[in-house]
């Protein structure tokens, strides 16, 4: 199967409730599929490491649900095998890892470093491609931890941003705890939730307790970020400090994924849903919204997307972008469709239907 994935192809690593798939295409018009890998297993996140274009990582239960989580690794196209060890908490902590939610490649010059965000919320770092793990104490046993509350999806650490300019600068998102930031490689963390609403709390702007759904860097490259929250969409400038709510112009303040353009600054895509109590596209029309000015204005795109009787949603890892020009944007739904745009989000085509519910989509170039 590995030979079937041509070098230079765009590869979409798609994690679903019943296994992982690799969709690949040299021209982004005609797509082929390899998989399912880890069949029957809930693959919450699967990536092709963009640093080498050929190592696949996936977080899934070991063989089946009862045996605990495992980090799987493979050369692209071959069946993933469990790494030597899964992330786990220190003895005596009375905590145990139940699920791997997110896998993030480390800095470009540390090709063996990966991060794992897990449930219950914690961050682990591996410097040997997932065979051993470092429990990042200052965050994982943060003084506020005893009061952390789960969101509806669980108490999960789902967003990990590694600053390409300064690898010791990391930002993480936890539901429903908020955004934390370190500038010393994880030795100390600050809460970074100023300006973010928490409508479900008595104090609507607490220091922490916000339900962050997804974080991503703004490709401005200066540390600015986008943020999709349970209560609004936000942008934060390069100097840190308070977030600016940029939900105005969107059909709702609720959604899960957010993906930034890798080359055009202040540009990002979201897929707002009707509300937290009704997690489907507004008016039954699937739509992706794009901003090119850090959220000041948004443009809706529906051409090629289903509606007006499409009552599905997209989960937090369900959107990805490639690095081609024009940009490819990809969205997987919780009803098993995978959609692609090869013109910067202007028009869409369905790549496939009848997948199990899509839990994650990531794009990379095969090398």
């Amino acid at each position: 199967m590995a030979k079937a994935i041509k070098k230079g192809s765009v590869v979409l690593a798609v994690g679903t409730k019943k296994g992982g798939f690799l969709f690949h295409s040299a021209d982004r018009r005609k797509w082929s599929v390899a998989g399912p890998f880890l069949p029957g297993q809930a693959v919450y996140h699967m990536i092709v490491d963009p640093r080498d274009g050929r190592t696949v990582y996936a977080g899934a239960p070991m063989n089946a649900e009862p045996w605990g989580p495992a980090m799987y690794r493979a050369r692209i196209g071959s069946e993933p095998k469990p790494s030597a060890a899964a992330p786990k908490f220190k003895e005596g902590s009375d905590l145990s890892v139940t699920r791997i939610w997110h896998i993030e490649p480390g800095p470009a010059d540390e090709p063996d470093t990966i991060y794992a965000g897990v449930e219950p919320a914690a961050l682990f770092r591996s410097r040997d491609r997932g065979d051993s793990w470092e429990d990042l104490d200052a965050l994982n046993y943060h003084p506020t931890r005893k009061d952390w509350q789960p969101g509806a999806g669980g108490l999960c650490l789902h967003s990990v941003l590694v600053d390409p300019r300064k690898p010791r600068h990391l930002v993480v998102g936890i539901s429903a705890v908020g955004t934390f930031e370190t500038r010393d490689g994880g030795r100390s963390w600050t809460t970074e939730n100023k300006g973010v609403r928490a409508e479900f709390m008595p104090n609507k702007y607490p220091e922490w307790g916000q339900c962050v759904h997804k974080l991503t860097w703004d490709s401005s490259g200066d540390g600015a970020m986008f943020h999709q929250n349970h209560c609004g969409t936000y942008h934060r400038g390069p100097d840190g400090g308070a977030w600016t709510e940029v939900s105005k112009g969107l059909p709702s303040d609720f959604g899960f994924p957010i993906a930034a353009h890798p080359h055009e600054k202040h540009t990002a895509f979201v897929a707002p849903l009707k509300a937290d109590v009704n997690r489907v596209f507004p008016r039954g029309q699937m739509a992706v919204w794009k901003t090119s000015n850090a959220g000041k204005t948004w443009r809706r795109s529906t051409k090629g997307l289903p509606g007006p009787n499409a009552f599905m949603g997209v989960l937090r890892e369900g959107m990805a972008v490639d690095s081609e020009d024009p940009l490819g944007v990809y969205v997987g739904t919780n009803t098993g469709q995978l959609f692609a745009s090869r013109d910067d989000g202007a028009t869409w085509r369905m790549i496939t239907d009848f997948l199990p519910p899509v839990l994650s989509v990531e794009a990379a170039e095969a090398r």
């Binding site: 063989n63 649900e65 009862p66 045996w67 605990g68 030597a84 060890a85 902590s93 145990s96 890892v97």
Partner: protein, 100 residues
Amino acid sequence: MRASPEELARAGVLVRIPPALRTFTQGQDEVVAEAGNARGLLDALEAMFPGIRDRVVDEAGRRRQYVNIFVNDELTRDPLPNVRLAPGDIVHILPSVAGG
């Protein structure tokens, strides 16, 4: 010729390995270990087959929610150190009825 379970178990506790964990035991479906209780048994298995213990119990030492341990066909519910074992006992490690 393969020894009978009874013959094998005279040397210790006979452990039946479920299919999902046979990647750790190089495909063996049963192994013999010496241990006086269930926690000791898992330690002995871990020494022989690194990584297998974490699949039965979590890092806090708790039996995973949907994993059952039977001793001589009886389901154990006690904390693992209290589950006494003796040579000749047969232990099954099995996933409970689950899935979806």
